[in-house]
Symmetry: C2
């Protein structure tokens, strides 16, 4: 079996250590290094309140070549004012010093409790240890994937390869945590490495679009946190003919592979969401526009009553129709048809007699699809959601700040 | 003590009976009659999918004088196609026949399970019984208030009086159910009676604005159902000088009293919401516009993580700030200040050291206020929410369609 994880693409080293930022005694500081530099792309939360790391990352992404990423878990460094911003810059400076790179060529991410300051002594010494431990081994990639976790129950990685202009290109990713988490966590971080030769502009385009069709299609509790970040670094070491045109078959191959990696990671994240026991996909077709289809899909996936029904394996189409009606999309109930998997439960505005037992079996599955045809146009889109369980409320109500 | 309930204003009779629409064996059909006619106003759900009763009510509100309202609980008559529409019209016809009024002068409302058809034989015979039992007694008003309930645990009424041009004007209301309810219920109905002499145009204006500042300020699970309806009838029997100008002190008095009745009913409804143990008010000031303030207040009140935290009596300001950041309003975190009651927990973008015990006491209360100053302008607005409990998930997950 081939090497898995962020060190699988050529040109990357990784490490993860326990720096003492978390009280729990697990790994909490990770580093990715690309000694010969890599092109970098990033997408961030749309929340108007962002962490210090997100601010610094946005600035530093302008660099022509990135030489490394430093990430801490346990403290989100969000809502921490000017001190927080200077701490995020210090992380870049310290990592740059250890990797003999300019601090402006370093990227940084944080995840954890909002409003708490970073213990900078521990962070600095952790960064130095991380730099010492950098390795291109599979174990090093796993250490990094573990260091970024907060209340996730498992580390989540995925790796794929694709042939581009006769060369094998590898894309790998590690992801953490869906669901804003008690006491007040700031959540999704996704790191991707690749060894394709590709222009910076196309790398950014590929990441933006792939995240749009994967990470941004999942809703756990309907909101983006202050820290959500996805970064993609590509070293160019695969030796493929550089990808520079968005319409080229090579770009398409790169994009499709990246998308597949992102979707796999998104699915892993959904199944590890707080209290989630199931995931479901909402596919909307027949909308007036893609935007309307997105609204409708998202409304169903976000609707607490649908999420509760799925938790209880109840094929409750009434709540689905109600969510659609209130989503703001242009709909005429007389044209709406709804299926659970292959089973039609509502057709042209009227309930259909269906096999309740079969419907319950469908909704009982670990994964199922809700298909909605709005019968109003040709716009379509989809969204993933997960169920709402008593465990979610327990995690988020019983834990105190 | 004065008479309470919908029969308190002069000119109204009411009744409520068990017609056998619900399986549960409780009252499920109610009637209001105004033998000399009343001016009528109505506001309805913004859901694009509406019940048959909502469609018929919208048509019939055009009548100059309304002579009665008929309401059933147990079956929402929503998503029932053409048959549903003809059933809603039949309810008006049957009620009109019993009250010797035109069917176009009758209003109708339904609440209950979506997608189920009305048992019209039972409904028709129930309507005749209701007409026979009409009375202006307080008990008759209570019977009506009970007949409109679904999974509400208590009936909810409120009555107030105000002197207008030397005459005593009475405004009363009855309300049912907040929270879309298992298996797939369509929820809020509010009926108001008054005896003021007032123009139809101002009656509609007063109801629209009062509902906007009361019913529409409460969010239980963030969505409007297919059946939400508020109706206001005014008989003119108080003998006051007719209210015809929106700027007049008389209109203001009428409006303020109506608003007070609506707010009281809204509060009762919130405290009887599914699984709710507490209600909270989110007051936003310093927004760029009133619209932005509304968005922010609503985002906080709708945010599952805030609702869970309040359920657990956790003063979790991080989730409040995060909800504000993602609401789409124009915000700069460095200008945001947040208080729980009188206790400042976040000032100008930074957490403040506060007395945790005091904060927990505030959030433990049956009702508390979250105050947010966005520091960006002079727009302000508010919203009420209720907590999210394991009971809510239980009610909505464990009950099967």
């Amino acid at each position: 079996m081939k090497k898995q994880g962020l060190t699988a693409p050529a040109g990357f080293l990784a490490s993860g250590v326990q720096a003492g930022i978390k009280d729990l005694g697990s790994k909490d500081l990770g580093m990715i290094s690309c000694p010969q530099g890599a092109k970098a792309a990033g997408v961030f939360t749309t929340n108007a309140v962002v962490s210090a790391a997100v601010e610094v990352c946005r600035e530093n992404l302008a660099c022509a070549k990135c030489f490394g990423v430093v990430v801490n878990s346990g403290v989100a460094n969000a809502c921490t004012g000017k001190k927080g911003l200077s701490d995020a810059r210090s992380m870049c400076r310290e990592a740059g010093k250890a990797l003999k790179a300019d601090q402006g060529a370093m990227l940084v991410a944080s995840t954890g409790v909002i409003g708490r300051k970073l213990p900078m002594d521990k962070v600095r010494s952790g960064i130095r240890t991380c730099a010492d431990l950098l390795s291109d081994s599979q174990e090093a990639a796993r250490d990094f994937a573990e260091a970024i976790l907060t209340t996730d129950t498992v580390s989540k990685q995925h790796t794929e390869t694709v042939r581009i202009s006769g060369k094998e290109v590898t894309i790998a990713g590690a992801i953490k945590g869906a669901g804003m988490i008690a006491p007040n966590m700031a959540t999704t971080l996704c790191f991707l490495t690749a060894d394709a030769a590709i222009s910076k502009r196309l790398l950014q385009k590929a990441l933006r679009e792939a995240a749009g069709e994967s990470l941004n299609k999942l809703t756990v509790d309907g909101h983006q946190s202050t820290n959500d970040t996805a970064l993609l670094l590509s070293s160019g070491k695969a030796g493929n003919a550089p990808i520079s045109r968005p319409k080229s078959p090579d770009y398409k191959k790169f994009y499709e592979t990246l998308l597949s990696v992102c979707r796999n990671l998104t699915r892993q994240m959904a199944l590890d969401a707080e209290g989630a026991t199931k995931i479901f996909k909402v596919e909307v077709s027949g909308a007036v526009s893609k935007k309307d289809a997105r609204k409708a899909a998202r409304a169903v996936a976000d609707y607490d009553l649908v999420k509760c029904a799925i938790n209880g394996s109840d094929p409750n189409w009434g709540r689905i129709i109600c969510a659609i009606g209130s989503c703001g999309a242009k709909v005429n109930v007389d044209n709406i048809t709804c299926r659970l998997g292959r089973l039609t439960v509502f057709r042209s505005g009227r309930p259909v007699k269906f096999d309740k037992k079969r419907a319950e079996e469908i909704v009982s599955q670990k994964e199922h699809t809700i298909l909605i045809d709005l019968g109003a146009g040709s716009g379509s889109d989809f969204c993933w959601g997960c169920d709402l369980s008593k465990k979610y409320v327990e995690i988020n109500a019983d834990y105190h700040t």
